[in-house]
Subunit: 423 residues, 2 copies
């Protein structure tokens, strides 16, 4: 039986789960693959983590170079997170001719090009199944399963924290802050949740999927990214009345040769599987040629679920001689301003005559036509909410029209706009 | 750029789609993988299929040995279907040291052990992504993505034809025969649909999943397999009233060291994603350790969707040196008679006093307790339908009790029993 010696840098939540599950399932893996996975050493710069290593009788070091320079180790698992020092560890491991397995989406989104290029140069592999959608074998499905397919559209709920918050707002009829507090209390949101809330974590994952589907690492600053902090309970309720749910979607579409990448809260038809993705689950829906529509659903985060993806990378790298190596491509991006879609718009206006006429006139002047209007009778903060669903309109026109409408004196709060994907 | 020369035997619906999509997507595949897939020759014993080859300017032969013995060909794609002569072609190709890609679930379910054992001996690979769930990269997800996971439960809608028929019965309020006729008219069912209707196709696919998840090829004659031809519109309606849908599920569960494999119509909670798998789609839900719950959804049949899976196998075999090779394991099976679950039972009884008492007495004598009873007021064929949901009961007890109840003179039709999976 072939033995593969691995080492782990970073003994946080995920690192500990990897240690535990490699121990627990090593005989299962050996039966399935005739491979023995030996955890040779673990590392954390926090020396108090030694007791975790001791519990499993694995040698511990607080110095990552001890692993990176150990000639017996085949594969380094990087679970440090963030850009530095993780990037140095990954580069160091590759330069020492070791394979790398990582769950670090921030690192790949920023330095993926350099990391894969170095891996190609030294003829070693980088496993990153755990970087997107935790336990769902999505990286493998997209890069291998759909290797002969074009991905026309991909919509992903890639962040469990924000999905949990939006789901609880809807289910529990509570506002954003209350839902965030609940998510933090239950361990679904971190104490400093801004990377999740602001959509940056979803953006990092979308960037990795963009590389797999289209061969391009986008400039992270140029991808339209909007988080969920502005979503109010009102919007959750009104969109439900219109038979929609609000989800934070990462979106990739290519048509007419232009690639369109975005992250933003989106109205999704209530009966669509993405709408039914509850709690902290992740889901990815894609429409492809010739494989048609596909949906993947599972746990996107948490130690045990993520450890499954990391272990699958360790085993598969050990089983295969040549891993997936995607070539980069030149791709033109669709300008967000040129997007055309339907929009949900909520105005908060004083209850005065002529308000609807004035709003409608501005919309018409930007060629935005209205599919439905609901004016709520009850007043909120001395205003009446006016909910509109538009026909397909240009993003640029919507932005300009709303900025003009928001200047009216009878508009008391900035207007809310949420994009609709009818899927 | 490395070139991989392949050949196809069988130019039916799927074979033609593979030819077309290899041509259409070869430059995409080359960009992604630096591999050139060259379709060197195609074969069909029906000489009239030559015109398909001509259309794509590919050499044609009616003799499979022309491909199998061609030393230039790396990989043979077997799309003949059935056991023989497909089995001879696959054995021949492996003996000539060629890799094999197949969509043939009947062949693998019957001869998988021999085929994989021969492949191991000659150090060649067998790709079979297309054999289960068409376009869904399920084989890859289970064998590679879940390589370090135990699969506690797996529920699959693995057959599009039967799902289409059941779905249309429910949606269109039509009976089994009308729905089957519609499925045939729309190309979702074959003219001779018995392999689908009787659950045999699902059984073949379940057998392959059993090999992947548990390392065991079951004896096909010993796996409890029940088709959908006995499902009446009544049952569809009554189960909907109880907030269930009826789906033909392939089920694999392992607990207490016993493996439980079955194929049968099943009541599934209406809000579960499996219930929402509409039309001819396939879906697989599994509950695993440590990856948790996963759901895969997509097109399970049809030329284009299936060609995507075949092409992914061709490319991945060409990319990797050592493919997946599962070792067989010794597994004990759970006896179907010892199953315990809840049941939906429908009796068709004469409307006479004491009927319910007599039925209940028999059930009680077998330790079957009743969770709910609904007696329908309207008479059907001079009988009243009595719908019962039982508490958890032994399969053996249910069978014995029903056979006793069916002997009552007031029971006019054989009782209907459908298992419930509360998932």
């Amino acid at each position: 039986m072939k033995t593969r010696k691995i080492a782990i840098i970073g003994l946080g939540n995920i690192g500990q789960a990897v240690v535990k599950n490699i121990k627990k399932y090593s005989s299962l893996i050996s039966r399935r693959t005739s491979l023995k996975i030996e955890l040779k050493k673990v590392c954390d710069i926090n020396k108090r983590k030694r007791k975790i290593a001791d519990k499993f009788s694995i040698p511990f070091t607080a110095n990552p170079l001890d692993l990176i320079r150990d000639p017996q180790i085949d594969t380094i698992v990087e679970l440090v997170g963030g850009i530095e020092p993780a990037y140095s560890f990954v580069r160091g491991a590759l330069k020492e001719k070791k394979n790398v397995v990582t769950a670090n989406k921030a690192l790949l989104a920023s330095k993926g090009r350099e990391i894969f290029s170095l891996a190609r140069k030294v003829n070693r592999k980088v496993g990153f199944e755990a970087s997107v959608c935790g336990a769902i074998p999505l990286i493998r499905s997209v890069s291998e399963g759909l290797v002969g397919c074009e991905v026309k559209k991909l919509y992903g709920i890639l962040n469990g924290t924000t999905n949990y918050i939006l789901y609880q707002m809807q289910k529990g009829n509570i506002d954003f802050n209350a839902s965030l507090a609940e998510a933090q209390a239950k361990g679904f949101a971190e104490k400093r949740p801004s990377l999740d809330i602001n959509g940056i974590d979803s953006l990092h994952k979308l960037s990795i999927l963009s590389y797999l589907c289209y061969g391009v690492w986008p400039n992270l600053n140029k991808v339209y990214t909007e988080g969920i902090s502005k979503i109010s309970l009102l919007d959750i309720r009104y969109s439900a009345e219109l038979n929609y749910r609000i989800k934070l979607l990462a979106i990739a579409k290519r048509n007419d040769g232009l690639l369109d990448l975005r992250v933003h809260p989106t109205l999704v038809p209530a009966e669509h599987p993405l709408s039914q993705t509850s709690s902290a689950y992740n889901a990815v829906y894609c429409d492809t040629n010739p494989a048609g529509e596909l949906l993947f659903y599972g746990q996107g985060a948490g130690g045990p679920a993520t450890s499954s993806a990391i272990i699958s990378d360790i085993v598969n790298i050990a089983s295969y001689e040549n891993g997936f190596m995607r070539k980069e491509e030149k791709v033109s991006f669709r300008n967000t301003k040129d997007l055309k879609m339907r929009y949900y718009v909520r105005f908060m206006a004083q209850d005065a005559s002529g308000v609807l006429a004035k709003i409608s006139k501005v919309l018409a002047s930007f060629n935005i036509s209205i599919a439905s209007v609901t004016q709520k009778e009850h007043k909120l903060r001395k205003c009446v909410p006016i909910i509109m669903i538009t026909h397909e309109a240009k993003e640029d026109s919507i932005r300009k029209a709303l900025s003009k409408i928001d200047n009216f004196k009878f508009i008391k709060y900035p207007s809310q706009v949420i994009r609709i994907e009818d899927l």
